[in-house]
Amino acid sequence: MEPLISITREPIDRNVLIASASHPSVGGIAVFEGVVRDNARGKQVSYLEYDVYPEMAITQIRTIIEEVQRRWGAEHVAVAHRVGRLEIGETSVIVVVATPHRAEAFEACRYIIDTLKTTVPIWKKEVASSGEEWVEG
């Protein structure tokens, strides 16, 4: 099944992602949701600004999904990342993996978010009262 991949400036709709990964053969759905935290390395964060290299981000996410399809047979996957300005508590990323049994869903979901953080060209800038900083992650 064609995975849903989305890079968007709008709030992410969790239900749309889950619906896209749902299928009668599925017995478990793992959802990882990343949200904006109000602190980082001891400082108070006001908001985050995400930048993306969109064409390459889509390509890299597709590569990651192909890998989980090979390794875990996870056929029902959805990944969405929001970019632009995000406020504290808002959702920045959602990964959905639906598989026949739960173990593969957990493992594949974790693999996707961990790999996404290191290979997909999306950057975040923490904006605080003390200054701004592009961070690695």
């Binding site: 980082a40 390395r41 930048d51 993306v52 290299y53 064409e55 390459m56 390509t59 953080k117 290191t118 290979t119 997909v120 060209p121 999306i122 950057w123 800038k125 003390s130 200054g131 701004e132 900083e133 592009w134 961070v135 690695e136 992650g137």
Partner: protein
């Protein structure tokens, strides 16, 4: 030959552009572009030292030879939690 370079995140803020056309000698490699950028934008040094490079949406090495029309992007680290730049 003409290539297109695009800037993102810290590099875009330092250069002050989202993209530009780079005219390079035939046979230029990714490492040559790095050198060219450093001479043109010395403030990129710290970010470039920590960046990998992508050509046409795929990661490449400094030895990669460029072709007419290539899209080049230097990619500062996207994983972990350390600092890339500090602007205030």
């Amino acid at each position: 030959m003409k290539t297109r370079i695009r800037y993102f995140a810290s590099l875009r803020e330092i250069v002050g552009l989202s993209e530009e056309i780079l005219t390079l000698p035939e046979g230029s490699r990714v490492g040559d572009v790095r050198t060219l950028l450093l001479s043109r934008y010395p403030r990129l040094q710290r970010a470039l030292e920590r960046s990998t490079c992508a050509v046409n949406h795929g990661y490449v090495s400094s030895e990669t030879t460029l072709q007419e029309g290539d899209e080049i992007v230097f990619i500062p680290p996207v994983g972990g939690g350390g600092r890339v730049t500090w602007n205030h």
